[in-house]
């Protein structure tokens, strides 16, 4: 016991600390877990990007598995992920857009130029709906199930890797669920 206490215990303590710090290397402090996971999507009602007189609300994505992508034309990483959203749309995923603190002409031009993967875009001019959804940096993408419950939040641009290993498997699983 004294030999254990004297030599093995500090070694074990060191190993535990090393394991903890090693794990810490992989944690991105910018990825803040959302408290909205497994909660109903926050209610909103916003004008459409294209038709300011038409409104969309979260009732629109009831009954199917959807993605809500928060984006803006001033966001560099959004440009980076855009082609991947187009790809996701081609793979049959229903994507709604939340155009966040943007200008209508700029946003419309962006969609014409780079392709439009969105079923429809909500236009959040002052970012209030963004606050309700806990948006703190664009792009952010929420996966919402058939009952309007948020099941996942992807922070940062959607990569091909994220599509294959994260988004598509989850969408498939949620579609099969009741």
């Amino acid at each position: 016991m004294p030999a254990f206490a004297r030599y093995l215990a500090p070694l074990l303590a060191f190993l535990a600390l090393a394991a903890l710090l090693y794990k810490g290397l992989d944690i991105d402090p910018r990825t803040i877990p959302s408290p909205l996971i497994d909660k109903p999507a926050p209610a909103f009602k916003l004008p459409e990007l294209k038709h300011p007189d038409k409104f969309i609300s979260n009732a629109d994505f009831q009954g199917k598995v959807t993605l809500l992508n928060v984006w803006a034309t001033w966001c560099v990483a959004c440009r980076q992920e855009h082609q991947n959203l187009v790809l996701l749309r081609q793979k049959g995923v229903d994507i709604y857009g939340l155009n966040y603190k943007d200008k209508r002409p700029a946003a419309e031009q962006w969609l014409q130029q780079f392709g439009n993967p969105y079923i429809v875009n909500a236009f959040d001019a002052d970012g209030r709906v963004g606050i309700d959804w806990g948006v703190y940096g664009t792009p952010e993408t929420f996966v919402i199930d058939k009952h309007g419950i948020i099941r996942h939040k992807h922070i940062g641009p959607i990569t091909l890797n994220a599509i294959e290993n994260e988004i598509l498997p989850l969408v498939k699983k949620l579609r099969e669920a009741n």
């Binding site: 402090p29 209030r128 963004g130 703190y136």
Partner: protein, 176 residues
């Protein structure tokens, strides 16, 4: 010499890659200066300032909402101001933000089972430290009384055979 040069080039390259990777991921929502609010009405300036100092800006992370220049901080200050104007309490406002951004917005974590180790851990360590200190001091004191180290005492016990006290450090307690 060449090897050192090569190594430093590698380190440079790795640093550049790291910085690029870190900067590409999320675009912080940024804008200029702190806005002016009207404190002549219902909203108390001291209360407003006291509240925004306790809340973290999600974009900058190491700045409070009071310090941050980010656009999100600007929006959240506006939101907090309006909630105060509507007569909401500090608790209602904090709950509003926690419900959206999680407890990460709080600079001071709430006391709950999940954070007990954070709040009480240091006191636990202090108690352990005091115990270790007490044991060590007592041991040393006993050593000083006999003037022998543990090994010496053991050797002495061996030499003296059965009559010796097998427990070093208890001589003083033995009845005469």
């Amino acid at each position: 010499m060449r090897h050192e040069h090569l190594a430093s080039r590698y380190i440079q390259l790795i640093l550049v890659l790291l910085v690029t990777l870190m900067s590409v991921n999320i675009t912080p929502v940024r804008a200029a200066g702190l806005e002016a609010f009207d404190f002549t009405g219902k909203v108390d300036e001291d209360r407003f300032k006291a509240l925004i100092v306790q809340l973290r800006c999600l974009v900058c992370q190491n700045q409070s909402l009071a310090d941050s220049d980010a656009e999100l901080a600007h929006d959240l200050r506006r939101e907090i101001y309006e909630m105060m104007d509507q007569g909401k309490t500090d608790k209602q406002i904090v709950d509003f933000l926690v419900a959206r951004y999680g407890e990460f917005v709080l600079y001071k974590p709430r006391v709950e089972p999940r954070t007990w180790i954070l709040w009480y851990g240091p006191f636990g360590l202090l108690v352990i430290g005091l115990l270790v200190l007490m044991i060590t001091v007592r041991k040393r004191k006993n050593q000083r009384e006999t003037g022998f180290s543990e090994q010496e005492q053991q050797r002495l016990n061996e030499l003296l055979g059965d009559e010796a006290n097998p427990e070093p450090g208890q001589e003083g307690d033995k009845p005469a």
